[in-house]
Symmetry: D4
Subunit: 249 residues, 8 copies
């Protein structure tokens, strides 16, 4: 239900067309389409600007496809995305909704059927190591879906601090920086120290020894000595991209 529909409803009450009991009931509800197994939230883009992406894990391949079709049925400029989909889910969704662009993320994929208009904010995605690239790729794919043209600066872990310092100007000049790092995640603190831009840290489940599937990087980023760093969940490249979409016009 969009703004005009809401005003129509109020007019119906005034005109006596709508029974008061029904009005009370309807006014407490906002619009979505109920597929039985999912309530597709067409209104989310108005409320959150980031739209509703389809998170594939735990859904059947068929359910993925049906939700994508429903989202595409609603006209608009909001991206339509399927994330962390396995091969079956990708195939089933493309079968019913052809034309999606597929980005790899390890054995999983991000698929994008509709892209938002181009946006001008400068977004830099920095990774600590080569093994962090799959998570960075998910973030880049979602950023592109939201209209950004993000830059990637890869393999800048603090054990060779000159590597990130070599890209210091890019980092300092960004509107938002996303830092994708596993192991001890120290890169996020260092980056936040050389830029005035918002820094979104994404802990990654890479590493060994005591990396504990990303928990060490997560804790390190949350306990960072650099003020104003914010953090998303482990491996959550998607969430970091959505955070950027909220921050920039």
């Amino acid at each position: 239900m969009d703004e005009p529909a809401l005003r129509q409803l109020i007019d119906d009450i005034r005109a006596g067309v709508l029974d008061p009991d029904d009005a009370v009931a309807r006014l407490r509800r906002l619009p979505f389409v109920d597929l039985g197994f999912a309530r597709v939230d067409h209104h989310r883009a108005l409320r959150q600007r980031v739209g509703e992406a389809v998170y594939a894990p735990g859904k059947t391949a068929r359910q993925c496809g049906e939700i994508v079709v429903e989202l595409l049925a609603e006209p608009g400029e909001t991206p339509v995305l399927l994330t962390r989909a396995d091969a079956d889910q990708v195939a089933a969704s493309l079968a019913v909704a052809p034309g999606g662009e597929v980005s790899r993320r390890g054995t999983l994929a991000t698929v994008c059927w509709r892209t938002a208009p181009a946006r001008t904010g400068r977004v830099v995605v920095v990774t600590a190591g080569t093994a962090d690239l799959p998570v960075a790729e998910e973030c880049l794919a979602v950023l592109r879906a939201y209209g950004f043209a993000p830059a990637l600066v890869a393999d800048c872990g603090v054990a060779g601090v000159h590597r990130i310092l070599a890209s210091a100007d890019d980092v300092a000049g960004a509107d938002v920086v996303v830092v994708v790092a596993g192991m001890e995640g120290a890169l996020a603190s260092l980056v936040a120290g050389i830029t005035a831009a918002p820094v979104v840290a994404v802990p990654v489940s890479t590493g060994y020894g005591a990396a504990f599937e990303g928990i060490t990087a997560l804790l390190g980023m949350l306990a960072s000595c650099a003020a104003g760093l914010t953090v998303v969940g482990i491996d959550n490249g998607f969430g970091a991209a959505c955070a950027v979409a909220r921050m920039l016009p």
Copy 2:
């Protein structure tokens, strides 16, 4: 051993038919059938009203079948259920005990051979996302086995709060509400805030980033700001259904 059998035993003592030593020994025991690898507890329904379900994991396919047969051998109105059974266990059990109704739960299944008489309590099962459906399905299957006709309200996570508000009347009018939610599990708090009914929260091992296989949802539900919420173990749709069976006549 039911009530009449117990009274017979007392009469035997009075009549001097039973030796005092034997009486002491027997009176300290309640009845079950010992299959060697399992002690099937026919008396449980009298004590707990919820009967003894067969939890499949860790049992051989053959053991599952033998226990089901033993449970069916005892007449009564208690449901006879096999839960979280894999394909082999389902097949072996149906081979020796035909006629069970199979409900899917991801790669596992719930099988029901005997259903309790219909009960009138209104039970609503709410899920936060589509990925929570397998756990909800187990809960629904067990509720139906106990004689309920539960309603399902799916995909109402708090990120689109209007979705649950749209079903607020159903939730408020229920006799018990079961909330099945992964990720941060916030839906349970919200639902408990809009109904006076008992709310049983089931944390689910879905989610990513920092969901930690359901631990985050579990902790969130236990720490809920909504008073009077109670919680069962992760993914324990069966337990939630049994809790409902205890709460309603």
Copy 3:
């Protein structure tokens, strides 16, 4: 805002007295009183039947008193309670709202200013050890505030299993049983095995060796082999009482 006020609002829309823009805004809100530091929720009792209790920790003594006064200002039959209050908070609240009944819980206290009408449900509170009594006391105080006359069966830990078996009839005959237990929390499983009533388990932060401030009892209750047991947070006697209030008429 109660039912009549809501209907008046609808009438005002119909009569054109209320501007549509204002109507949209107001209809999306439910009533509460804003004290600046707290939004006192007079409507909660209608929605949840359990009312809003004042949880003292983290509030100043003065804030406790002001909220209690506000709650008492609303006529009705809902209990008015202050929980886990320290000596200062109790004194400050009784100074501005005389007449509250104080129940001890270790160094903290529960204060009740208004009690609900008597309810007939039989509630039994069982504790595993003497050290669990403070948490049980909080639960009993809140149950009495909600109109129940709960029974206490103390010190029945499973290491002396005959102690709980001696009270087996009381437990079996209850409408709800609350089990309050620290250490390994095993009593909850045993009690759930000898009653058909709902069992609400409260883990307690007593014990030593590997009790870990109640975490061991909490996990044990959640992993219980007894079907249909539900659990609240550690030391949450208040929450258990509220759960009972939801379960019984």
Copy 4:
């Protein structure tokens, strides 16, 4: 060392005034003042825009004062702040640097000696409960130091969901929303669902039962079903304010 000083250095090299060995050494360093026990980073504001605040815990009262004096010695518009200071640290600092404005945070305090010029971004700080106010106060104090005029919306926990819906317009119209919540932290997910603005979530160490000193709220916020939410450390109102200062012009 600011931009002009850096250019002077390059000029000195060109003019042969500066020895190459010294130039290599100096060019690899950025400016700070070394107090022996602390290296006060005057350059931080240029790099990060958020300046260097003095985090009091672990420092002696005298050290706090000396660092504040050093920061004030450098002219500029960067805020000068002392955070989480106890009574001794506040007194010692005000003794050597009079004129600081003190904001309470429970038993600790934030002191601000210099405030940045006014900024126009609309910042809304939402709290779940009254017990979250001390952390919110720290955040508000730091936001004011950075030139913002933040609004506070207190006591909007999801157990009474109408309370936050009553402030939905304020939340939806903000440029950034900070959500401060303990217990299960569910409010952050709900708020992120009703605004398109960036949402910074601050988990708080309040709550009981299974709140575990803020860990439950932290995990819940990181695992949130609302896309684009970012999180800072437990009770870190300061960090959330710095994040806002990075996000807004």
Copy 5:
């Protein structure tokens, strides 16, 4: 209720003196004395041989005294013990039950009013460091109460492996060895390797760096490479002594 009383009950049933309903009820119960706040288990010594000790924490000083008096009222050879009592609890108990022998355990104490007859088993208690002595003292006091004359071998941590090897004959010749160790708890593995006797390991909450209040020692003992080692809870010298009392005649 002892053996003769039980036989009398059976005789009453046979003679018709006892109503069958009452007989059923009584036969399901074993004897204890109900003090209201505690169910004192006089029967425990018959069942477990280790009697019921009074664990002081969480009990009021008065409750401690009343339970001790009740235990002493029952004649027998079972030890009567109060453990981990603070100064108030010790004083209150000795006031109503004079003559108890007090053993220190840091700020707490073990008090023994009645000692079992002397037993001949050779028990050796080994500690890793001087800081483990308080826990060892509790173990020694309880062992003496149970009639043993335990030997103490102190300060034999593995960092100076010759210290335990110097006592190797004592350890090898013992009937049971109790190893009390904090930090990494490695001494238990080493001791189990040089004796054929049962080894009971008690992790202690001493240590630093990564000792985590005894958790590291506990885990190390449970994961020991020495076969047949068994473990009790952290700091549980009492439990280790009771285990010894079960193992030896």
Copy 6:
């Protein structure tokens, strides 16, 4: 090196046959055979009475076989055992050392080549559920290898407390009881309450909801309210059997 060999060495020193330097070196060593990848400890049986079993995981199939052959090469009455061996390890070992008796433990196996002389101690192994049987089977196989004739009492979980009470006489009459239990592990506390014998508790990694791969059972057993219970590691049926071998003559 056994006792006579040691005396010969001393005689050689006295006779001047052995150089003092060599004597010092040799006297500091006890005997083992070095296979390069393993130091087979023939002396262990003298020191520990439980011999050295071959723990298969992490060893190659060939290594398993070579160590078994080496152990069999030493005459004696100590059991020769291979534990938790997979199919390849079993086959490789039987190929070089025929005649071993294989006991299943889920997908793994215990193999016994040599059995100790019969011992008379009565050992009872109790399990909480059918799913605990594989761990109990390992324990039984090792007990038989050590010469015991253990009894098995299966499926006695506390949710049907009469099942263990029905075997109360067996449990009370045992010389040692081993309790094998997953989920919340409450059975160990209950058993320890009805027997005076040593109770060795084995937590099992079965269960769901909040069983956490046996951690919940482990913690519950360590925090048990029953005095004198001792615990081994998760699923460690082998360790429990070795503990029994230490306890009984």
Copy 7:
């Protein structure tokens, strides 16, 4: 960029050949080669003496090969190593860079293409059990690549303490000792007690019962009662070897 290149740069500034702006930018950077997905750090050997090894997990087989080729392209005496490579990664790397020597580590492998000149330090690697050998093998392979000729002393766990004492002279005479141990990791404490050399402890993810994938060994080593022990991450044989390379000339 090496020392001469740096001096050339300074000369260019003095001569006016280099623009000041460019000079500032270039002087803040140190040299590496950017392959797009990786920034190969040729300078690391100068800074750290240990060179840059290629950690295979998370990299594609092709990426592994390309980085190895790039490292070999730089002349020098630094080892060129690929660690924890699976079969595909090994094959792809040897295809583009023939001649590497492969050392097994369970299913993974270490490959070495270039070895440093021989070094004279005596390094002893001690393992607690046969199952620790794969981690020790990685450590030995990297030590050999760095020019050492390390000795291996295998299977010396503390449960048979004479086994390590038999090698006490080797351990005492080493320049550095690396202790590789799983389960409770106690061997590290014991070894540190019998040598004056630096001891580097490597916890291993072997063991059962409560070994928790190496966490128990890790904690035990960090909490060791032996002063001056240092620790690396779980299974990190590579890191231990690099630490040795830092310690010895």
Copy 8:
């Protein structure tokens, strides 16, 4: 027992002065003095070069003094140290052993009575923040006791990376670097990247938000992307100094 005493013993055996049984017993022992509550290990310095320091926590003030006196009674060049002593322990020790030099560590102190001869190794201790100084002070005091003249570089956290780069030459030129850091501990990784010397990382229990009393820094250092970093326990400045004493001549 030193080398000559050992040879005398062998001579006594050869001469027949010593009975063989006694010889066997004595040869298995190394020397220490048994104070009853402690076995003072005079031999440790010979074995470990680092001597035996007295760790005060858990010892009575009197015990601290007695052990110090015993250590001083043995002539030599080994340092005599009391660590983490509270005011009572310091006073009691200085009363019986005057002349110790006291270094503060927060509310605790290190006391040194005897210092080793001067050693020439260059040791640099780096801290991330001012709050890390107490742990660094302990490390410095112990290093000085071992004869080193360590340098301190304070307050170099990575959020202002130029601060550590300004001291890069000192760090690169050191023989060993100790990094003392709380919060996320990232400084250790960075330092290990700019020096070829051994780096010993000491996690510190400072920080907030998600520092978890040093666990986050500990994990970050163990999972570091910088090869060859080694780690000691949380706040263990003493252990780091002992590690340095092992590494340098």
